[in-house]
Amino acid sequence: MFRPPFAILIVAAPLIAGAVGVNPYEGDSGAIRVGEALFRSQCAACHGPDAKGISAPDLTALWTSGATDERIYRMIRTGVPESAMPPSGAPDKQLWAIVAYLKNLGAVPAWPHATGDPDRGREVFAVECARCHRMHGNGGRHGPDLSNIAAIRTRETVARAIREPSASVTAGYRAVTLVTSDGARLRGIAKGEDAFSIQIIDANERLRGFRKADLRAVDHERTSAMPEFGPADLSDAVLEDLLEYLHRETATDGSAAPPEPSPSAASE
């Protein structure tokens, strides 16, 4: 995942004299809706329609990464020098509406403690999830890294992503099957694509690039590469265990007990 360029932001911010103040629209649902529309028309080309990033950074975890309303406001106002991020001359209200929208995206309420057993969840994670998902330096690389998932997504969102993974697939994690000139089928995750080439991570986690001219077909899958875990595959009780484990390991707000360092994580 991309990290927001806060080093640049901190350099840029002091150039603006005077206090900007607090966001008058924080939590205002009407302003958040306007902010979302403004974001989609003005920002989404680079930051993605869901703010999860395309050519520019993922903006869904700004506040959990230490941002403040004022910093984000100033960043939009002044742009980021020597980057593709332009300054904005839009009225204050529009900028604050965008800030409210972005903050709402990242405003994940602390996961409630639930009945699940995180230790049992750990075993489930190791068997069902870790082949594709990384956490604190361990695990696979086909799916998104889950090291801070409880800080950036609600418990309901994560539960739904497990039950119905195809409902929302993060950009950069869509599955594709390439048919080579000799008819072999190669499934992977599409990381990039243009009119003439495609860049994937293959089943063995190798980064591989192909010219489309050398392929017989490029079949994008409509559904997520992640299997669906319905109640028959993963009972409600086991799902609770898994969520409780994710909460314990990945919350950053102190709502969960601090994770015990695992030897392999400490070695990195």
């Binding site: 028309s41 329609p49 742009g79 593709a84 332009p86 009225p91 694509e193 009119a195 080439s197």
Partner: protein
Amino acid sequence: MSPNGLGTAVALLALTAPIAVELLAQGWQDDVDYPADPGVTYEDLLEGLSVSTQWPTYSGDYTGRRHSPLTQIKPRNVHRLVPQWTFQSGTTARGRGFETNPLVFNGVLYVTGPNNYAWALDARTGRPFWEYRRDLPSDLTYGARAPVNRGFGMLGQRLFMVTLDAHLLAFDRTTGSILWDTVLADYRVGHAATAAPLVIEGKVIVGISGGEYPTRGFVDAYDPETGLRIWRFYTVPSPGERGSETWPDDAQILARGGGATWMTGSYDPELDLIYWGVGNPNPDFYGDSRPGDNLYTSSLIALDAATGTLRWHYQFTPHDLYDWDSAHVPVLADLSIGGKPRKVVMVANRNGFFYVLDRTTGELLLGKPFTETTWAREIGPDGRPIVLNDGSKGCLPDMWGGTNFMPPSYHPALAMLFVTARETCAIYAPQEPEQLTPGAWNIGGVVWVESDQGYGALRAIDVRTGERKWQFRYPTPTIAGVTTTASGLVFAGDNEGNFIAFDARTGKPLWHYQTGAPIWGAGAVTFMLDDRQLVLIPSGSSLTAFALPDD
């Protein structure tokens, strides 16, 4: 001293001491192999691309076709095209592109860049002779949002460039020094200037940006010698003038009605008419405060070159609510329509329609959609679109439109126009602006763009019928310009950074090169140098030259 150094000395002295120059030139004559720079004449501009070694005006010539007669690079050898050099500008148009069109004259490229940088480059190597950087004010309005520039105009020993603080500059072509600096408009109320000037005999024609601010657009003509204004045509009329009946009877609304003119026009020397596209009315999305057609916004205007008076207009999008500027290069051609020869002007418009108009009278000859737009599918007998969906029946093309300012190209032998089309889905949510402040963004609402539903395409349009002959799909909506050659090639590009050569007849991609940044706004420029055909494309912050291998 090199011949080029001599040129600099001669040009500097020329300003003050013509006699000394003569003596100096004579003294060096034995050492100089080639003749002195003769200067760019009006005849050079008229000849356009028929002189193989030049590209003397934005579109190559006055017709706006971007069609080169060159044939060294052709469908059967274009796969061998290789980079010759890359020039790094060191500056970027944040959130936009390197939209410039380099001019070529006597082996030298004259290039403008973002943030009002400019250069003279050696066409053989991409090495600069000089660089210019404008000291811009810190309180730019439109110029801060879109710090782009689309190129020079040139005449004699001079280059002409507009600026983000809405000035027009004349440069000494040899040294890059400024000869005069004329204010076009007050940038602080929302203006900027970005389009390449159109130079005709005795006049430098320029347009202005600012349609998203409460401003009033115009087309101006300036004296190339003095920088003094010769005429101005306001694209939104004054109270009582013709066209004002399409607006509320309110001088204040007319005074900030929009109608920016930010793309270079075309010129018919025989009719002595200038064709220029006019932008959206302001506020962009909120129309209740400006009932009526809002002439001459989102229109094509034909102006008498001598006086700047309006000869005719055609409005593509009456009472525009979608920011569908008609900021396009009008393409001039001579077609046989219904067995009769017609002088036409063609526009693939941001509203998704392709139009053919009689360029003497403005009569509509053909209007057909070249996109999947649901806004309208036909033009009525009165010349107005029959609007089927004002946005209440599902999504419309977004505010960047079915195409945009990126120049298309016309191949006369094939009678095909090649245009970069955009297919998008947007929901418009107009809102009444709360207050109008000079210098403050004023678009009247927000637009929801479903980014994941969009794509781009290069489309070939048969200009006699408006039918699509072929298309090549790009992964995302694209803002790349197009250039054709007589050998049957189309040079275009995409948002993913590929610079691509297509077979003009079939649409088959024959060659591509990944430049690393979107091809954005600019089209290729091609010319002969030392008996080799060069092709230039700007991308990101770089300009790259391609040619066939030297062996």
